[in-house]
């Protein structure tokens, strides 16, 4: 551990820029993780220099004032989620951090190319497993892993999907390894959220640093809703008078703000399941003037809840008969149903192989190193190194069925090893990843906090990635958990022109 300011002053080597900045970096700690702003010797990386210079001129008080202006703006816009406790429902904003996370043009070019390659391969894969299953016949991916997955939708077999684009909106979680390389941690192929925070963060942070924003040359992201609309439109079987709607579970959903935001920005209807009905395999919305036909649905409801006739009977969020209308080709649903099979933890491990298989290319972005316990060699490695790995059950999420080796007791590890040996197909293992750190405004000073990066990929007739992302930040010191439900916040992400 190195204390940036102090270490520099005590080292006797020339006084670097970090040392000269002094005050705001009092609590800045450089650990084993890659830091976005400072090189390991404490010097500021060139693309952060302008931000560093600006910060040096602002007092903690002034930063605080700007931080509060950002938060107030979120509150007034209603960018909040509701926390239920003690019978009382309180609205909280998702904490937004004043300091932008900066990505260079070169880094972005690589991320963009890597994600385009990845979504292409994943869409090929989905089309394949819902038709011939070539990849299964060729033994690239085990048959049981796909057909046994609870997210595999038999109902989708043989259904044509426009442009073969099953995943139309994808939010991939990237992290930066200790060596500085971006790697993919997770693909979210079902109903990824967060893009409205990307846009809202930009709005407030640009206002907090208007001159800096202009001087640095940041790529714009405001056209995301337009690109999303174009993507949805490209999926319709005809191009005249396409009627598009965003389907939301309703106002109590934690992402409701985003659903309303996207509908408004695209200029399309925001509908709930109760607004829609299906007659003769055609989907209609109930309007004051009568029924109006709907052609494309950007759904923000999980597969399970979308049609109580086919999926969960107890769901009242979706629309009865929607799937039959979809099967009849009378409505497009984006993302397609059944995409969840391709983003579970086991399939994730195969994505590099899928890229080679379908595209005959080497993956541009690496995965986090993943050991599939179903493969004997990997299994032996995992069992021998349980104290250094994180082992996850494939079908679970949210931290269930998981062993964090370095934090577990010997007894826990031994018990887990038995479970793993009994059902190896259900487990994967990964090394613990030190997410990179970025300067974050915390309690009047600037400190290092761990961040990830979630860009959003649109895929219809073509593939578009708006040059920006949601950077999630773990606001607790030392924490690697960036989820908003567990003390995470978000940052604006500036992708530079050059």
């Amino acid at each position: 551990m190195q204390h940036v300011g102090v270490a520099k002053q005590g080292s006797g080597v020339g006084v670097g820029p970090a040392a000269r900045l002094g005050a705001p970096y009092g609590g800045y700690v450089l650990g084993a993780a890659y830091d976005e702003m400072f090189a390991s010797d404490g010097t500021i990386r060139p693309h952060y220099a302008a931000l560093g210079t600006r910060l040096a001129t602002l007092s903690g008080e002034e930063l605080n004032r700007r931080q509060q202006a950002c938060e107030l703006s979120f509150l007034h816009q209603g960018i909040t989620f509701t926390v239920y406790s003690d019978k009382q429902a309180t609205e909280r904003i998702i904490p937004t951090d004043l300091l932008p996370r900066i990505v260079t043009a070169a880094e972005w070019a690589r991320i963009e190319a890597g994600l385009k390659q990845r979504i292409l391969a994943l869409n090929h894969f989905l089309r394949d497993i819902y038709s011939d299953g070539r990849v299964l016949k060729d033994g690239v991916v085990p048959r049981s892993m796909i057909y046994g997955s609870k997210h595999y939708r038999r109902e989708m077999r043989g259904l044509p999907v426009a442009h073969g684009a099953y995943v139309n909106v994808c939010g991939s979680d990237l992290v930066r390894r200790e060596d500085g390389a971006f790697v993919v941690l997770e693909d979210n192929l079902r109903v990824p959220s967060g893009v409205s925070y990307m846009l809202a963060n930009r709005d407030v942070v640009r206002r907090a640093f208007p001159n800096l924003f202009r001087a640095m040359g940041v790529k714009p992201i405001e056209h995301y809703p337009r690109e999303l609309l174009a993507t949805l439109r490209s999926l319709a079987p005809f191009q005249q008078d396409v009627s598009i709607a965003v389907l939301t579970p309703g106002v109590f959903n934690s992402a409701y703000f985003e659903h309303a935001f996207l509908a408004r920005q695209m200029g399309v209807e925001l509908v709930e399941g109760r607004d829609l009905l299906v007659n003769d395999n055609v989907v209609y919305a109930r309007t004051t003037s009568g029924l109006k036909r709907i052609d494309v649905i950007y759904r923000r409801i999980d597969d399970d809840f979308i049609d109580s006739l086919i999926f969960r009977e107890d769901s009242s969020l979706g629309v009865s008969g929607l799937f039959n209308a979809y099967r009849a080709g009378n409505v497009v649903i984006a993302n397609a149903l059944g995409t969840g099979v391709a983003d579970d933890k086991a399939v994730y491990a195969y994505v590099p192989r899928l890229i080679r298989y379908y595209l005959s290319e080497e993956p541009i972005l690496d995965n986090v190193e993943t050991f599939l316990c179903r493969e004997e060699k990997s299994r032996n490695h995992v069992l021998a190194n349980l104290d250094r790995l994180v082992v996850k059950a494939v079908g679970e999420s949210g931290g269930y069925g998981m062993l964090v080796g370095p934090h577990a007791s010997k007894a826990e590890r031994e018990a887990f090893a038995e479970r793993l040996k009994a059902d190896p197909e259900n487990y994967i293992a990964q090394p613990t990843i030190q997410l990179s750190t970025a300067p974050t405004f915390v309690e009047g000073g600037v400190e290092a906090r761990h961040v990830d990066l979630r860009p959003f990929i649109l895929h219809g007739e073509g593939t578009v990635i708006v040059p920006g992302a949601l950077t999630r930040v773990a606001l607790k010191r030392g924490s690697l958990v960036v989820n908003s439900s567990q003390g995470g916040g978000s940052k604006d992400t500036w992708v530079l022109n050059n």
Binding site: V251, D275, T288, S289, L291
Partner: protein, 315 residues
């Protein structure tokens, strides 16, 4: 327009009208009680409670503080100022994408500012001012809405909600001063109460312009019922309701539109072709009850034709 959206806009507007009415009645009452004897003030507070409570709402204690607490800040009272604002905001949230950023932002700010306030907080200072501020914020919201929202179908559902609500609220106030409830809840109104009634309806100055400052109950009733130009008269609201109904649901089948427009036309005729002289001989109570009932019928008919219609009837 989605039927659900129309429903939310309509109710958002009704609740905002109710909130504005509540804030104004409390502000006026707090200001006027200073000049009244204890008994007169108590009596007219009871009238305010009756005007603002849908059901029999009994305040915890009959003093001004407890009544203000109950009518303004008690979330358990479904028609309190805070409940109305909260309901308006909940409806606005449901149609967030239909409102302009300015309208939503302004409404949200009004609510967030008032939400943590209690009667204790404002009592030490000049409590009437706090309610004046809320009222003025709500007037501003009306202006922001007028200036930033397209005057399309959604706007007319807002107009419909506002004026259906206003016509009923004004009728209720008139009933408490002239009609069936005149002596049921409090002592019959005295001279000062007539002034207060005009102020409840922001009508004092416009009334004086029309009839001079001579306060005559019959003229007050005529003004608040039948004036064609004053925005808080029943007739003005009925005209706005009729206008709005011509503009909503443009593509609805004629048979549905006819059902709604017939009721609106009947209400308009009742107001247009009745004279105050006809009513002052004792028939004002049934007249006011009839206005309220007709408003309810129009509401039901709008719902049956445009919002909650059975899908099988249009396929």
């Amino acid at each position: 327009m989605l039927s659900r959206v129309a429903d939310s806009l309509y109710w958002m507007s009704r609740y905002l009208e109710r909130a504005e009415h509540t804030a104004r009645l409390i502000a006026v009452k707090l200001e006027s009680m200073i000049e009244q004897s204890r008994e007169d003030a108590d009596s007219s507070w009871l009238r305010v409670v009756a005007a603002l409570s849908a059901e029999e709402y009994v305040p915890a204690s009959p003093d001004a503080f407890a009544i203000t607490q109950g009518l303004a800040f008690d979330r358990a009272n479904p028609s309190s100022l805070l409940s109305s604002l909260g309901n308006a905001r909940d409806n606005a949230r449901q149609v967030r994408e239909q409102l302009s950023t300015e309208v939503w932002g302004h409404l949200n700010r009004i609510y967030l500012r008032l939400q943590p306030v209690t009667a204790e907080d404002i009592w030490a200072h000049h409590p009437a001012n706090s309610f004046r501020e809320v009222m003025e914020e709500l007037y501003t919201l009306g202006g922001v809405t007028y200036s930033t929202l397209s005057h399309g179908e959604g706007w007319y559902f807002l107009e419909l909600g506002r004026h259906i609500e206003r016509a009923q609220l004004t009728s209720r106030l008139l009933d408490l001063h002239f009609g069936a409830s005149r002596s049921a809840v409090a002592e019959p109104p005295k001279y000062f109460d007539w002034l207060v009634l005009l102020k409840f309806c922001t009508a004092f100055e416009p009334y004086c312009k029309a009839y001079t400052a001579a306060i005559k109950p019959e003229k007050i009733a005529e003004f608040l019922l039948f004036d064609a130009e004053f925005p808080h008269s029943v007739r003005f609201s009925v005209d706005r309701v009729c206008d709005a109904l011509l503009r909503v649901a443009p593509g609805a089948p004629p048979v549905r539109r006819a059902a709604v427009e017939r009721l609106a036309g009947r209400l308009k005729a009742s107001v247009d072709f009745t004279q105050i002289e006809d009513l002052m001989s004792g028939s004002i109570a049934p007249f006011l009850a009839d206005i309220t009932r007709q408003c309810e019928q129009i509401h039901d008919s709008v719902y049956a034709s445009y919002i909650a219609y059975g899908a099988e009837t249009v396929l």
